[in-house]
Symmetry: C2
Subunit: 207 residues, 2 copies
């Protein structure tokens, strides 16, 4: 939209405020979702005036876009032996999620992706990078459907544990979770995909 990034505050002296706003924004977006989060509340949490948020990020949407750029850590499956890749993936994501509870990135993304279609698209791209690409790089035949199935399972876990607080998943410890989910993930990595998620397969309606 805008070419020059002509936002109000660009000087080096404004960095602390900028970071305070972003931190408050991420926390608020994670706690209450996009619509329910108010610029006034973010500004109050950051200890400055609401108009400052506008000067720094242009609009509420701009603030959200700035707050949702995250540095993701992509797992490398290649050195992991085939039979242990399921467990490795589950542990990788769950441990990252556990440690990122400070900045709330995951809940923040999940809460908003569900309400906001643009964020949902962005999340799809993110999951392609995070799941399908490593699977493809590890030499899997069909990373598309396989990655989607694994992604669905991990997202379901995240949803139940961090957003819905569904017991006993919400209060299980990490090792238990990994032990429980690893076989199912491994199954999707191992299973030969002769008849599975492919467009245009010969229809064989059971009913």
């Amino acid at each position: 939209m805008n070419s020059g990034e002509a936002l109000g505050a660009g000087g080096p002296r404004s960095e602390p405020t900028r970071r305070a706003i972003l931190e408050a924004a991420r926390e608020a977006f994670a706690a209450r979702g996009y619509e329910q989060t108010t610029i006034r509340a973010v500004a109050a949490q950051a200890g400055i005036d609401p108009s400052m948020v506008m000067r720094y990020f242009g609009s509420k949407a701009g603030l959200f876009a700035a707050a949702s750029t995250t540095n993701l850590q992509v797992p490398d499956l290649r050195p992991v032996p085939q039979a242990k890749r399921g467990e490795f993936m589950v542990r990788h994501f769950v441990e990252r999620w556990e440690h990122s509870l400070g900045d709330d990135t995951l809940v923040f993304l999940l809460r908003t992706a569900v309400t906001n279609d643009a964020v949902a698209d962005e999340m799809q791209a993110k999951f392609d990078d995070l799941i399908k690409k490593p699977i493809a790089a590890a030499g899997h035949d069909d990373p598309g459907p396989c990655g989607a199935l694994i992604g669905a399972q991990l997202l379901g876990l995240a949803l139940c544990r961090y957003v819905l607080h569904l017991e006993p998943i919400a209060s299980a410890d990490v090792d238990t979770l990994v032990a429980d989910l690893a076989p199912a993930i491994q199954l999707h990595l191992d299973i030969p995909r002769d008849q599975l998620t492919r467009p245009g397969k010969p229809p064989a309606p059971v009913k």
Copy 2:
């Protein structure tokens, strides 16, 4: 809060309007979530005045509560042979979700449960009835963790297919989905749970 349900319109002549409001409300809540849905929009869709919604349901929260009471169909696993129960459960839920796209109950619940804690609690109770109870009735040893894991997987599927529109899950046909997910569900039904999700197991920290 109120003891006598003293809402404005209770006569039999108001039934069509009441149903029109509820249908419009479910559609709107499913499409846009709780906060984003306005009483004015619901009223317009139902072809009446916003104040009528207040007379019928008291408040926006009351409208939501009325719109979210649904009749769920609990699967009966007992006549299904053990080895086919995974496939049966996946098919049962996916087919119900596919056919309920007319009234949007599922998306409606998912969208709101993510933003609204009270709805999340309600959803947990609903999933207990829908998943854990049938598993327990079928004689499973440990329906709690097992049901939660299956629930997480099914919720992940629903989230990816109906809310996030994650490809290729979003546009896969039902039979493909069932074939893909059934083994993983079956795995959770079959697996012996010696070391799994139990509180108070001896801690064996890997790290």
